[in-house]
Symmetry: C2
Subunit: 132 residues, 2 copies
């Protein structure tokens, strides 16, 4: 059975309160900083569970860390991420969903999961970069 513990709540809340993606380590630090004695391993477990149950998104940063983010929408979706400031926009992509399925099927693949993320410079950072 799945139990409700304050730890899991704490992780969920901390994640909700976070803008953009955050690493498990960083989230653990944040929690500690606000006085929670939660253990690191527990944060990993909680994040893993949230990701599995679809309540959180996860992706790999270019340097190999796993980053997590609270899902605002319930469905499956992808991200548009500013590589400079970390701003994240959730994007629905039915178009891509069906494409991925089609391509997988055409090649005999099953259980297709996909990683579709767009990195770029957001409007703001574009301006900054231009003026620099």
């Amino acid at each position: 059975m799945k139990r409700n513990t304050w730890q899991r709540e704490a992780v969920r809340e901390a994640l909700d309160a976070t803008e953009g993606f955050i690493s498990a380590q960083a989230l653990h630090s944040t929690l500690h900083a606000s006085g929670s004695p939660i253990g690191l391993a527990t944060v990993y477990r909680a994040l893993g569970d949230l990701a599995t149950s679809g309540e959180a998104d996860s992706l790999q940063s270019p340097d190999g860390e796993s980053l997590y983010r609270a899902c605002t929408t319930t469905g499956h979706h992808h991200h548009l991420i500013c590589r400079n400031c970390g701003l994240t926009v959730e994007i629905a992509a039915d178009e891509v969903e069906s494409w991925a399925k089609r391509v997988a099927a055409r090649n005999g693949f099953t259980q297709a999961a996909h990683v579709v993320d767009v990195f770029g410079l957001c409007e703001n950072c574009t301006r900054l970069a231009a003026g620099e």
Copy 2:
């Protein structure tokens, strides 16, 4: 200055000879198996260089490893990767290209790069998994 060493050549060749993506560790093992005394650190360095110079593609596997692959096509393309045996199919995706551009533009993003990879089980591994 950039020097030419047999080690770098060896890595390039081993990568060329490999179907699909391979991890640095695996490539090192392969090289060792074929009698090369090349060091692990050197394989990492060589792969990093190849990736930087655009002679190789790199991506992160879902479990955090960095995978490398010699570029066969010069153009931009994506991958369909078997998560069990590593079989890789290169897929062109004009559809996705234009989608990514459109989405980025609509949100004010510039310099959009994207990561679009589909992981699944290839025909073969699907059969194996089913019979298991």
